[in-house]
């Protein structure tokens, strides 16, 4: 029942057009190795879901693989500035920007995890967002009669999550910030795990730090050291500024292909 597989085979299982939740937050613990492989395989029409994305989303946009992005925030942080490829794709009408408050992404994922078609959301009040997007609505509290906002469920076809530890059955543990990863593993129909380290199942059994993602939710496990690089991975490595800058210097999809090819030969 081992689910260990290669990154190439794991990513092959993800179809064009998939609704894809990406773990991590901005430049932290994003599943970059899997993102590279999605780009290498030339996936098209991906519909991305994330509270706050950065290089992961931007790279797939440069690769021309993105149809839409449901997110609260898409940008690098600090001196890296905005995501140029995401911006360009949206501004040229090739990519649909489904702007959320980060919390409405969480609420939409919760709805999926709870088997619900929608989730009421407190807080979304005076904003043009509900007017601009059909995934927002109002719903009446059946007890008080008062109205409250609601968001439509987002049930990703796949969640791709990079973790520090997994066993070959699929049990996976995140150390440090969890971001929305655990929720994504519940909301998605299938889960792909890339892991810094493959441990024995007994490792979790003997520990009080249990896997937070149980094996039966997971459909593929890839041993992928530095699988979040050039983003940071808590307890393993910081973000790699030079590498991020190197990506940001790429001018087009062709340049990206060569850049990915170089990294592929280096085993990244």
């Amino acid at each position: 029942m081992s689910k260990l597989t290669s990154l190439r085979d794991a990513v092959r299982a993800i179809p064009d057009g998939a609704l894809l939740a990406l773990g991590g937050n901005t430049l932290n613990r994003a599943p970059m190795a899997a993102v590279y492989e999605l780009a290498r395989q030339g996936k098209r029409g991906l519909r991305l879901v994330k509270t706050a994305g950065a290089m992961d989303v931007d790279l797939l946009c440069l690769a021309g693989g993105v149809a839409s992005v449901d997110a609260g925030f898409i940008s690098y942080e600090s001196h890296f500035g905005l995501c140029p490829n995401y911006r360009k794709g949206v501004e040229q009408g090739q990519i649909q920007a489904n702007e959320h408050a980060c919390y409405t992404v969480i609420s939409a994922l919760r709805a999926a995890a709870y088997g619900l078609p929608f989730m009421p959301v407190a807080g979304l009040k005076q904003s043009d967002l509900p007017r601009a997007h059909p995934y927002f609505a109002r719903v009446r509290d059946p007890f008080s009669g008062q109205e409250v906002s609601a968001v439509r469920a987002l049930r990703p076809d796949w969640a791709i999550l990079h973790v520090q530890q997994a066993d070959e059955l699929g049990n996976a543990r995140i150390e440090g910030p969890e971001y929305e990863d655990i929720l994504m593993s519940r909301a998605a129909a299938k889960v792909l795990i890339t892991a810094e380290e493959i441990v024995q199942e007994g490792h979790f059994r003997r520990s009080e730090r249990k896997a937070q993602i149980p094996h039966f939710m997971v459909h593929g496990v890839v041993y992928q050291p530095r699988g979040a690089a050039p983003c940071s991975c808590q307890g393993c490595y910081p973000a790699d500024e030079a590498e991020i800058s190197s990506f940001l210097a790429l001018e087009d999809a062709q340049a990206l292909t060569s850049w990915l090819h170089e990294r592929g030969r280096a085993g990244i």
């Binding site: 430049l27 706050a52 609260g72 919390y103 409405t104 969480i106 009040k125 967002l129 910030p177 910081p238």
Partner: protein, 239 residues
Amino acid sequence: MIRPCDMMAVTMARLIRDGETVFHGVSSHLPMVALLLAKRLHAPHAVHLNIGGGVDPAIARQDGISSAGGNLWADAAAALTLAEVFDLSMRGGLDVAFLSGVQFDSTGGVNASLIGDWKQPKVRLPGGAGSAVLIPTARRAILWRTKHDRRTLVNDLDFLTVRGHVSDLVTPLCHFTMHQGEMILKSIHPGTDIETIASSTGFPIRYIRLDSTPPPTPAEMAALKEVDPGDLRNIEFRS
């Protein structure tokens, strides 16, 4: 010469009261430093909430790349995920949220979404992150922006990402505060004047009583260097 980042950090820190629960998100080194400063000085029991998920991290390790990273978790005593921080605000338990944007109007409206027409935007901005739900639910939202010009402080927003409990807006030039639904000038930072501010602001400048923002005190500057040895507060000005 007072650096704008120091003046802004100190001004934002002074707005935090002891014991308050305070959240900042991504791309938020300046409020993060302001909060650490406030906790070092007058608000030791303010509660630092963030995306990394650590409550009151000591932040022994600086991170210049992200204000949402694992360093905000590593040496915290308790963990609270982003989802739970949002929940806290939704149920009325968040005192202060620090948020930014690209356009601000005189009613406290914020645009962090796009420039141009929303159906076909000229510029796609990063998005409001948590703003659309936090600004209406936090007891007060403190806005900051490292640019102060007529494209930033506008009469009409291209898009209303959110309007809500905005209490203050801090810029490199001055400190605005909300008064009866209107953003009014509260104090002018050292080194500028009301004419400069008026000509740099797209909406009419109004005020009730106009103060000079007190410059950072030696104690504030000393504490600032302690909590931010890596000068993270200056990141937005360098970029």
